[in-house]
């Protein structure tokens, strides 16, 4: 196990190097002169030259790369062109906002996905199964930014209810923007989590059906073990192994999905920071934030692989 972890960590090194090269190249692959683009079309020559000097754009590319990476390892991702603040400072609290958003969404998605998946699998081809899987298919097919807009309209702006509904007059229960309070968190979390809930539900269903079809489940039933115990103690435990991987990957994937959700709900996280910085041509911030998200994703994947291996000791080393 220890050997596996070490090897798995070593395997990520080339990925990390590749990611850093790609992110570094972004600025240089942009057609035209990056300094000119950042300064603006009509900027005076000295200002462009100034930026070029400040970012070290006169150095040969490999030198620039190594100085970028050297600084990055020490936690220095350069300075924002817009605010002049350090990129790490810009990311700062936004990092946790995005992680929180992705984490809450994953938790909600796992909760809903697992329940729906187990219900579907234990009542295969029933009305409940068919409708749950239909809902999951919709969840999978919905652009989450559109779902976000609809949720804002229905539950933040609210719909006026007819007068015969007791106690409540409209449905403006939540806030359409921001992050922090319960009222602000609910809608973005549902928006981001729906797709994952759908994937987890489908995955749980097919994994459960695979397991339920196996001999040891039939044996358990033949021995007269209660159906509840067969399902929850014997079947679910094994069915969950592949689901764990999917959950981990979903959490990682949601870090990317957060870009759209954060934009819709004006949540001040890393996703919105990327978009705002792209619009302002603030390349150091775009690069730094994308690098941080990618590193986080690689790290999560590493943990998932280790967890998977831990849960399923039967996987051979190669």
């Amino acid at each position: 196990m220890f050997k596996f972890i070490i090897r798995r960590i070593i395997q990520t090194i080339p990925v990390l190097i590749g990611v850093s090269i790609l992110v570094f190249s972004m600025m240089h692959l942009v057609p035209g002169d990056p300094a000119q683009i950042m300064a603006g079309e009509s900027a005076p020559k000295e200002q462009v030259e100034n930026i070029r000097e400040r970012l070290g754009l006169n150095e040969p590319l490999p030198v620039q790369y190594f100085s970028y990476i050297g600084d990055a390892i020490q936690g220095d991702l350069g300075n924002s062109m817009r605010s002049g603040r350090e990129v790490t400072e810009e990311i700062g609290t936004r990092f946790w906002v995005t992680v929180e958003l992705a984490l809450y969404s994953t938790i909600v998605a796992v909760f809903i996905g697992l329940i729906a998946g187990v219900i579907s699998a234990t009542r295969k081809y029933s009305f409940a199964d068919t409708s749950l899987m239909l809902i999951a298919l919709f969840g999978l097919s919905m652009p989450n930014f559109w779902l976000g807009l609809m949720l804002i309209q229905w539950f933040a702006i609210g719909i006026d209810l007819p007068s015969w509904v007791p106690f409540i007059s409209d449905t403006s229960w939540f806030k359409p923007s921001g992050w922090g309070s319960f009222q602000q968190v609910v809608l973005p979390v549902i928006t981001l989590g729906t797709g994952s809930a759908a994937i987890i539900a489908r995955m749980t269903r097919s994994s459960m059906l695979d397991v339920i079809g196996q001999d040891y489940i039939r044996t358990a039933r033949a021995k007269g073990v209660k159906e509840r115990i067969v399902i929850y103690r014997h079947a679910l435990k094994n069915a969950l192994i592949p689901v764990v991987t999917v959950v981990g990957l979903q959490f990682g994937g949601l870090l990317g999905g957060a870009v759209l959700t954060e934009t819709v709900f004006a949540v001040n996280g890393m996703g919105k920071l990327i978009i705002d910085s792209i619009m302002a041509r603030d390349f150091p911030v775009v690069q730094g934030t994308i690098l941080v998200v990618a590193l986080l994703f690689v790290f999560v994947n590493l943990l998932v692989d280790i967890a998977y291996r831990f849960l399923n000791k039967r996987i051979d080393l190669d």
Binding site: T12, W146, M150, Q153, I157, G257
Partner: protein, 305 residues
């Protein structure tokens, strides 16, 4: 490493069917697949809707009463009516007609980004799987690097570099779908490569190119078809997402994601502006997902006829 992109659950990718060169199995297999597919109601509905959208994309633009970018500020933000089925947007443009004109765009973006991404991915996957060794590890490490950018982040980064336009969105989405295809094709190639008849072909002196294109590729088409269908759905979602962020189709193009982005500002007084383009995206993506799911079951030798 086991990664997966946001909306793809390739939980049950198809094993390549076992080739038996004597009885022309390919033909027979296709017949079985088609029979299974015909019995799958949801796949047929999906396929039917895809056909419907293609027809709408081709002849729809000739039938609409209003031009998609004719502005009529007097009539702006009107709710749906007999005159304007889906209402009008903030420039008084007819939303129904804009959606019809955007159908072709959406399908083309989905289709071409998958075509481009799949072609490159298939080539890389076959080369990696067939030659193995260092070639394989270099290709697969590179795929790992592309997969290290979660969700639409890779496409976002590429569009940032290339600049916002619909063509660049196609390129960006295509590049981000390369790894999925490369991995699936590599896996299938590995399992087909082990079969005896490939050794036989080699012994007979067939060239690598011939073996790859005439003997391996035809036997790994089923997982590719399934993945391509499902990937069109994902590609449409990503592309509309990029346009929604303002990095894709530029105004006044009637692209659905961009239309949604317009609608965002009028949620309070004209929610229909955001409602209909979103429903259109859901319908198209749903159709491709339904067909893709059905194809996966149909190609799966374990499912009964």
């Amino acid at each position: 490493m086991s990664h997966s992109t946001e909306h793809i659950d390739n939980t049950r990718t198809v094993e390549p069917s076992n080739p038996n060169p004597n009885s022309n199995p390919r033909f027979k297999n296709w017949k079985i697949v088609f029979r299974k597919l015909k019995k799958n109601k949801s796949a047929m509905i999906g396929g039917f809707f895809i056909l419907f959208f293609i027809i709408v994309a081709i002849i729809g633009p000739f039938l609409t009463t209003y031009a998609p970018d004719t502005q009529n500020l007097v009539n702006k933000l009107q709710t749906p009516s007999g005159e304007h089925w889906f209402g009008t947007d903030n420039f008084g443009r007819d939303i129904f007609s804009r959606i019809i004109h955007g159908t072709g765009l959406t399908l083309l973006v989905g289709f071409f980004s998958v075509l481009l991404g799949a072609t490159i991915g298939i080539l890389l996957g076959i080369i990696g799987g067939y030659y193995g060794g260092r070639t394989d590890s270099i290709i697969m490490r590179f795929m790992d690097i592309l997969l290290a950018f979660p969700g639409i982040l890779l496409a976002l980064a590429i569009v940032t570099v290339l600049g916002g336009s619909l063509v660049n969105v196609i390129i960006a989405v295509a590049i981000s779908s390369i790894p999925v295809f490369a991995r699936i094709v590599r896996g299938s190639t590995l399992s087909v490569k082990k079969l005896e008849y490939i050794d036989a072909m080699k012994a007979l002196g067939a060239s690598d190119t011939r073996i790859i294109f005439k003997h391996i590729f035809p036997n790994i088409t089923s997982p590719i078809i399934v993945q391509a269908t499902l990937n069109i759905a994902t590609a449409i979602l990503s592309a509309s997402g990029l346009s929604f962020l303002g990095l894709g189709a530029q105004p006044p193009t009637p692209e659905w994601g961009a239309m949604l982005s317009d609608g965002r500002n009028f949620l309070y007084n004209a929610p229909h502006v955001a409602l209909f383009p979103g429903l259109a995206i859901v319908a198209v993506v749903l159709a491709f997902n339904m067909l893709g799911d059905g194809l996966r079951d149909a190609f799966d030798p374990k499912t009964k006829e």
